[in-house]
């Protein structure tokens, strides 16, 4: 055995060890508490995916803001592993896995989110109170999402009660004027202020209202929910002012609410895909069975047909499976049903590289080369075909991935990703692992037996046996 082979073998064992430690990591946690649990896609664990599109033409920056708002709202729902992704110039892909009543959650996310300053006629309203305003008399945005079940009627909690006068319209808020909290300018104590400015009609009305109501409260309402009711200190000339708070934390919160609280543009549901969790579980079970049966059949075929090299390739194939799953968990790759199909298909590709090499190995042995020389020659000669065909498949995987990404078809993305990864990985298992295995068994006396290579006679081996 050459020292190079020993190093390769150690490297392979190391990779296998790391992969196994990831796949069987206790509670899905690996080195430095990294989350390496298996991520299942929407079709396997249930959930919803929607493609939202701006109802009117907008700039990309506006969509970025909208995506930010949606992301914050999802986080408020407390769902893990959700995805909010900008796609093209006017689309947002939202994925929320494992949630009951996903459609209603989307409705909440999609609510335009209205920022209003309201006239409460001197009344202080407690933060969190839901109110009706002239700008939005029938609030829908804050319907409870987690507790309502599919058949239950939804009753609005605020169908009655006073309608407060909206002074401003959130649309008129000049977002560029909203600046991060700073120490309030006119304050001697350590107060924080968030500057803002309204434009147009809202600015004129705000100026009039504040001038007439100094030292009286004015409530800030977001999505029909009272945020706070500060006391007006001075008239807001030109609709320009600042909100003062006692703590930096409050100021930060107001800042984010003002800056990102409102969706800058109404969003339409262009496409949606919902899968129930029970349907997903059935698919997981089915794929595991299919994967095992597929792997087993291929292993049997390889061993029966190619004998010793086939057995070594099967070991390499098991390693391939373990490394694949370790990578899925590490990167992480979200597994979808077509993704699993892509993986199972890639088993076929991984085997193909081996088949190509073994065919060459047999030819070389037949020509009378020694086993050692035949192994090297087989790999060198099979390489161009393996390389070219892998590149061709990788090209299509890239194109599929791009297609899936643009239209939020995460199923296609999953397929392209697992197939592509599988192809790269199969290059490693075929070119490095199988080759090292063959070299490692080469010096062993039993390996010099033509039958193990599905040959009647191999002149090179006869020679090796005689000299041994």
């Amino acid at each position: 055995m050459r020292s190079r082979d020993i190093y390769s073998l150690i490297f392979i064992l190391l990779v296998a060890g790391i992969a196994l430690s990831i796949v069987f990591a206790p509670e899905g946690r690996w080195l430095f508490n990294r989350d390496v649990s298996v991520r299942l896609g929407l079709d396997l664990r249930g959930g919803i995916q929607v493609l939202l599109r701006a109802a009117e033409p907008v700039e990309r920056s506006v969509m970025q803001t909208a995506a930010g708002v949606i992301e914050r709202r999802i986080n408020a729902l407390g769902v893990a592993e959700s995805v909010v992704q900008l796609s093209g110039n006017d689309r947002i892909i939202v994925e929320i896995p494992g949630i009951d009543n996903p459609e209603q959650a989307i409705e909440t996310l999609r609510g335009t989110g209205k920022l209003e300053f309201i006239d409460t006629k001197g009344e202080f309203l407690a933060p969190g109170t839901i109110v009706r305003t002239t700008g939005s008399p029938n609030p829908i945005a804050l319907r409870p999402t987690a507790t309502v079940t599919g058949t239950e009627e939804i009753t609005s909690t605020v169908s009655e009660g006073p309608i407060y006068e909206s002074i401003t319209d959130g649309k008129d808020l000049d977002l560029s004027s909203v600046q991060p909290p700073q120490i309030a300018s006119q304050s001697l104590t350590n107060q924080f202020a968030v500057p803002f400015a309204f434009t147009g009609e809202s600015a004129r009305r705000l100026e009039q209202f504040t001038a007439a109501n100094i030292q009286r409260p004015m409530c800030i309402v977001l999505d029909n929910q009272v945020f706070s009711c500060p006391v007006i200190q001075a008239a807001l000339i030109g609709g320009r002012g600042e909100i003062t708070t006692n703590t930096r934390q409050d100021a930060e919160q107001i800042y984010t609410q003002l800056k990102y609280g409102a969706l800058p543009v109404p969003l339409q549901v262009e496409s949606s895909r919902t899968v129930s969790a029970s349907l997903g579980q059935g698919s997981v079970d089915a794929s595991i069975v299919a994967g095992l049966v597929g792997l087993l059949t291929v292993a049997l075929f390889m061993i029966l047909f190619y004998r010793l090299p086939g057995f070594l390739a099967t070991v390499a194939l098991l390693l391939y499976t373990v490394i694949s799953f370790a990578l899925y968990q590490l990167i992480p790759v979200t597994l979808t049903l077509p993704g699993i199909a892509g993986f199972i298909l890639s088993i076929g590709v991984a085997v193909d590289a081996n088949v190509l090499i073994f065919a060459r190995l047999k030819e070389e042995l037949r020509r009378g080369r020694s086993l050692n020389a035949s192994i090297d020659a087989a790999f060198v000669e099979a390489w161009p075909a393996i390389r070219d065909s892998s590149v061709a498949t990788l090209i299509t995987c890239t194109i599929l991935f791009m297609f899936g990404n643009t239209f939020g078809v995460s199923l296609i993305k999953g397929f392209a990703l697992t197939l592509g990864l599988g192809i790269l990985l199969s290059l490693f298992t075929a070119m490095v692992v199988t080759r090292t295995f063959l070299h490692v068994i080469n010096p062993l006396p039993f390996a010099q037996n033509p039958w193990l290579y599905e040959l009647k006679d191999a002149p090179g081996m006869r020679h090796a046996r005689e000299t041994a």
Binding site: S389, A392, F415
Partner: protein
């Protein structure tokens, strides 16, 4: 085995015999487009308290129509709940409203449960008209882009062989063979079993393309190698024939292993990817056939410039040889 190249016109004829019925079906019936490409909504609804015999498609159609979804296509199936077999329906309608989809959904589900007791919405997909139109356009672009990218790569990979562009073009012709065959089969299956062409079908098609090229490359690689070690007495026909024979075991074995995994997926792998796997199976067999019996053979046709002979009175050389 040494007649594989001689019989080339028979192989081409066989391809045509298989492809033409599909093309005819494609021309008459077209493809049955799924909601990904034509827009619409697909409801998968489980009727928890009903057994499969107790549903009636007309009644379900009427319920959907009453809620504003006229012309729904209803297909009855069954599914399992806690070990019991219950009735399910897969209903295809126009897509949900883009501005206010939730009330529509609620209304349909309540109307269904008013008639049939509790229902479970297993899956609901809705694709709007704009996105489906864009998907269709991009799908076509994706297929063309894949072809061009592969053609460029093959030309580069075979730049040391004589006439590198030929290899690329012959590989693409074999690929078109597979694409036509798969599209034809999809059209026939659409008519016979109502199979729909969806995003997963596109996935299958592109995979078939890449695997077809994969197979072709393996054969071409052998031809390239054998051409470099060419003996002066060997003709191009002989080299190609020899290369095919050399790669045949590999082609068959790879085909078999992929076949095993796909059959396992088909039998055990779950309902929703069944069409994907079926198309892959058909496409992969076609891909292997076309790489051996079309792509490599076309190289010979090109090398001998046989089209000069096609329009003369005498039969082409391949046909002549077998007739003799």
């Amino acid at each position: 085995m040494d007649k594989l190249v001689k019989l080339r016109y028979w192989w081409f004829a066989l391809s045509l015999v298989i492809i033409i019925p599909g093309l005819v079906s494609l021309a008459i019936f077209g493809l049955r487009l799924g909601i990904d490409f034509s827009g619409g909504a697909l409801w998968d609804i489980q009727f928890v308290e009903r057994t499969p015999g107790q549903l009636d498609t007309e009644r379900i159609r009427a319920i959907f129509a009453a809620q504003g979804f006229e012309g729904a296509l209803v297909q009855l199936t069954e599914s399992q709940v806690d070990g019991r077999t219950v009735a399910s329906a897969i209903v295809r309608t126009r897509s949900l409203s883009e501005t206010d989809p939730e009330p529509q959904r609620q209304r349909v589900l309540s109307a269904l449960s008013a008639e049939y007791g509790p229902v479970n919405q297993q899956a609901l997909q809705s694709v709007g008209a704009t996105v489906s139109a864009e998907s269709t356009r991009s799908a076509v672009i994706a297929v063309i882009a894949a072809c061009v990218a592969i053609l460029v790569y093959l030309t580069l990979a075979f730049r040391r062989a004589p006439h590198p562009v030929r290899y690329g073009i012959c590989a693409i012709l074999a690929m078109i063979h597979d694409v036509l065959l798969v599209l034809g089969v999809a059209s026939i299956l659409g008519v016979v079993i109502g199979m729909e062409v969806d995003a997963l079908f596109l996935t299958a098609l592109l995979t078939v393309i890449s695997f077809s090229v994969h197979d072709t490359i393996v054969v071409f690689d052998r031809i390239r190698e054998n051409l470099m070690n060419r003996r002066p007495t060997e003709t191009f026909d002989e080299i190609v024939n020899h290369s095919i024979v050399q790669t045949l075991p590999r082609s068959i074995n790879t085909q078999l292993t992929t076949f095993f995994t796909l059959v396992a997926l088909l039998l055990f792998g779950g309902e929703s990817i069944r069409n994907l796997v079926l198309i892959l199976l058909i496409g992969l067999v076609s891909g292997t056939y076309s790489s051996i019996f079309n792509a490599a053979q076309l190289l010979v046709v090109w090398e001998n410039r046989e089209w000069n002979r096609w329009f003369r009175r005498s039969a082409p050389p391949g046909a002549e040889a077998t007739a003799a």
